[in-house]
Subunit: 195 residues, 4 copies
DNA sequence: ACCAACGGGACTGCCCGTTATT
DNA sequence: AATAACGGGCAGTCCCGTTGGT
């Protein structure tokens, strides 16, 4: 067959990634067998393995792109903003994200390599919080690092929750609560003055 | 071998379960191949599958026992107490717990069956909170159901976090923060009076 | 447990044989797994293997007893008589008989050992026919050995037929035809005289 | 490997079938393990199961092709002709044919599905016989259906006999006898006139 | 005499990735 | 570039027969 124009090749890569995301999300990494990927992409093994060295690297490409997207959101609007946008994300994103968690747990090599990305997101969030503490919009009676850990726990829990598919209306209320918890509480100062 | 005394048989079953827990936690459900289970238990396929119909039911036995244990802790001391005890739990517990999450996500049939257990834990936690609201120890400006969702998110996030193996010293600080967030804040009343 | 009285032991052996016959007939040799045999006998592996060295020898015991029974019938009344009695035999007998055929085909060692029994039945039948030819009740324009082969073909075909479970009412008519074919035909002599 | 020309693919399929036939005939269905099939075909599991869904469907493909071939012979020359040609058939055919008998016996579902084929062969044979009765070449003192049953018994017995591998020279003599038995006997009319 | 715990071999079928062919 | 034929490893499961203990 003739060589396709580069843009077409890229489109093909993207299409494979999208299909693979659906498959990984729906069936998990192991459950998304090559046969399933074929069905989901509408392409043959040969085509898939032509664009990606193996199943693993296909998965990593997805994970990486997701990690970058999350980092961008956190950089722009913080962890809480990232959480508020989670429900908009497609189910595929959540699934892949959880598969990443799983491999973090079971594959030390993967964890070591991935830890850098997580740390960078964490640092970005922490910088934002420290600035906000100085700006007086975030409480400063709790260490910024503790607040980040707190927010990341809620974030990860929310990913698990949403990925499970349980429809839940009061997520917004919870996020409001989280936001108030982090925000500077005028009353706290008041209390402190009294004592 | 002959019919052993029931206690001996039970001990054997328990030993297999413990070994399987380690394997599932360390390698994941798929990664814990029967060969791995053999190595971990020190028994042969024949022996393992004599006590458990198949790998699946071995896993379910673990999940069930864990679910019961968690339910007991929540009944006794609430979700926050359950979280405080998470780090004491062996790593195996966390791994199995996450594998359960994964199957909740990828296997609708499993989810339908398992949902009942989750609901019962949720209800138990909610009852505790409502009582505490009436007793004046838990804030009542936020619906109990929202608080439960909040706590469960933190709980699930914590499980993910701990299972990943990242050693983290300030989990206690985070849990303190969570607890204060849920507890009745005298200042809030004060504010309300002022307005 | 105490040793049972010899007659009880024998009864147990017989019971196992009867149950095994049902199992072999219904599921075939391979399909009659030890688990199936346990269910059918109501005994455990241990009990079964206590009375019979292994599955193979259990099967051989059945086959042998059947071969003896058939030989007795043929000795007494001939092959046609044996065929007439086939429908009365229990389904188990037919099944075991066919399993024997199968192993005759696939296992040369078994065939060599079993051939003697078949030959003795064949000889017995042939002797009867030769005598009957001399006595004038069986046609002598066809060699006795040919007649025996003929009868054995019909016999084996009938076993297959009955074992398949197809209910067929006109077997009697067919056997009548077979009998007339073998019997001395007065007309044949008449024809010969004419020519 | 790429998409081959249809004829090449067909040739490969046929080669696999031929090898499988040998294996099934020699070792029986259970005895023809996938390992044996690999050895006999010279191909790997992957290749074999690429062309056939599983061992079962490989067997069914053989059985079906054989059933069609038999039906064609019976349509063309009748059951006796089919029997005369049996010794020419390769041993594989006989083996597969017997494995079919076995499954007819042990698997009701298979029997129900297969019965149609057997019925059609039977009907074809019966039609031929009725025509021949009217044409005066086949005896009419016995019902055509009885004659068909008779011929089928001989046929099935012959298959068992040949498959067992016992070399037998006088099969021709037996088939001559069978043919005479079915053919119209001028002497019978003579007898009837006399009485 | 009987039972169940157990070992370990072998089964089928699926897996992923490569390669020969369009 | 894409396909489908193919290899070979290994998964879970079930098999049969043995053994330790009542």
């Amino acid at each position: 067959m003739p060589r396709l124009r580069p843009e077409t090749v890229d489109a093909r890569r993207t299409a494979i990634l999208a299909a693979a995301r659906r498959a990984f999300a729906r069936y998990g990494y192991e459950g998304a067998t090559v046969r399933v990927l074929e069905a989901e992409t509408g392409l043959s093994r040969g085509a898939i393995f032509h664009h990606f060295r193996d199943k693993e690297s296909l998965f990593l490409a997805l994970a990486e792109s997701d990690a970058r997207a999350t980092a961008a959101v956190v950089d722009g609007g913080g962890l809480i903003e990232a959480m508020r946008r989670l429900p908009e994300r497609d189910a595929g994103w959540l699934g892949v994200s959880l598969e990443v968690s799983r491999r973090l747990r079971t594959e030390p090599a993967f964890r070591d390599e991935w830890q850098r990305r997580l740390d960078s997101i964490r640092q970005s969030a922490e910088h934002r919080l420290v600035s906000a503490q100085h700006g007086g919009t975030v409480r400063d009676d709790v260490a910024a690092s503790t607040l980040v850990t707190f927010l990341r726990l809620v974030h990860d829990g929310l990913v698990v929750h949403l990925a499970a598919g349980t429809p839940d209306a009061d997520i917004d209320a919870v996020l409001d609560l989280v936001e108030r918890t982090v925000r500077k509480d005028p009353c706290a100062d008041l209390q402190r003055e009294q004592s």
